[in-house]
C-alpha cells in the first residue's frame, strides 16, 4: 500500500509518503487510521474528524474497505488561494 501524508501530517510523519505491507488484520479505513496513528508518531492526529482519507483518489467515509494495492492519502483541513 502506498500512503501519502499531506500538509502538516507529512511533518509529523517525518516523510511525505511511505510504502507498507498492509497487515492482514486491517481491512477498513478506520482500522488503518488507528494502526498508523498507533505505530507512527501521530499521537491522535490521524483520528481527528477533520482528517479526511482518500482511497485511490476518492474521498471515503469511514469505515471504507482497504486492500494492500490501494493508494491512500491522509488529508488535514485544506487551505488554498
Amino acid at each position: 500500500m502506498h500512503i501519502v501524508y499531506l500538509g502538516k501530517l507529512a511533518d509529523i510523519a517525518g516523510r511525505p509518503a511511505e510504502d507498507i505491507v498492509l497487515p492482514a488484520t486491517i481491512a477498513t479505513s478506520s482500522a488503518l487510521r488507528a494502526w498508523l496513528d498507533d505505530t507512527r508518531a501521530f499521537q491522535g492526529a490521524l483520528l481527528h474528524r477533520s482528517v479526511r482519507m482518500a482511497v485511490n483518489n476518492e474521498i471515503v467515509v469511514d469505515p471504507h474497505p482497504v486492500v494492500d494495492q490501494d493508494e491512500v492519502a491522509l488529508m488535514p483541513p485544506v487551505s488554498g488561494g
Partner: protein, 159 residues
C-alpha cells in the same frame, strides 16, 4: 482552462489572454490573489503550497464545470501556484465570462470560495520565527456557506 503551476505567472497577461479567449461575452470578471508580505507572526519569507494531483486538478475541473452550468458562463480560467511562493507574487487567478455582469461576479466569487476552503491544497507560511500550516479562517467557511448545495454539505458551486 485550469493550470496548476510551480512557475510564477503574471495575472495581467493571463487576463489579456482570457479576454481574447472570451471575446463576444458581455462581462468578464477576474480575481488575482497575492502573497501578503506580513502576517501576525511577522514578515513572511515565503508560502509553501502543496497539492495532491490528480485530486486537486479533478476537483477544480468539477467546480468550474458546476459554476459554468449554474451561471451559464461562456468561459472560465483558474491558475493556482504550488511550491514556494514569495511575497508579492501571485498565488491564484480566477476569471469568468458571461453574457451579463452578475453571473460573472458570482461565479468568480464562488470559485474563489471553493479554492479557499474545498480544493485540495495545503498551505504553509514561513516567517523568521518558524513555519506553520494554515487552516481556513472561520470567515472563509462562512463565506463558503453562501454557495452550499451538494448533498454532503460541501460547496460545489452547483445550484
Amino acid at each position: 482552462m485550469i493550470v496548476i503551476t510551480q512557475e510564477p505567472f503574471e495575472p495581467s497577461a493571463a487576463l489579456s489572454r482570457f479576454e481574447r479567449h472570451a471575446a463576444g461575452s458581455g462581462a468578464v470578471v477576474s480575481f488575482s490573489g497575492y502573497v501578503r508580505p506580513d502576517t501576525a507572526g511577522g514578515a513572511v519569507e515565503r508560502l509553501h503550497l502543496e497539492a495532491y494531483p490528480p485530486m486537486t486538478q479533478t476537483g477544480i475541473v468539477e467546480a468550474v464545470r458546476s459554476a459554468s452550468l449554474r451561471w451559464s458562463l461562456t468561459a472560465a480560467h483558474v491558475i493556482h501556484r504550488v511550491g514556494d511562493i514569495l511575497p508579492g507574487e501571485a498565488i491564484v487567478f480566477v476569471a469568468t465570462a458571461a453574457p451579463h455582469r452578475r453571473a460573472a461576479f458570482e461565479a468568480a466569487d464562488c470559485l474563489m470560495d471553493y479554492l479557499k476552503t474545498e480544493a485540495f491544497f495545503w498551505k504553509k507560511e514561513v516567517t523568521a520565527s518558524g513555519a506553520r500550516w494554515i487552516e481556513p479562517r472561520d470567515k472563509c467557511y462562512i463565506d463558503q456557506t453562501r454557495w452550499k448545495s451538494s448533498k454532503d454539505g460541501r460547496q460545489t458551486c452547483t445550484e
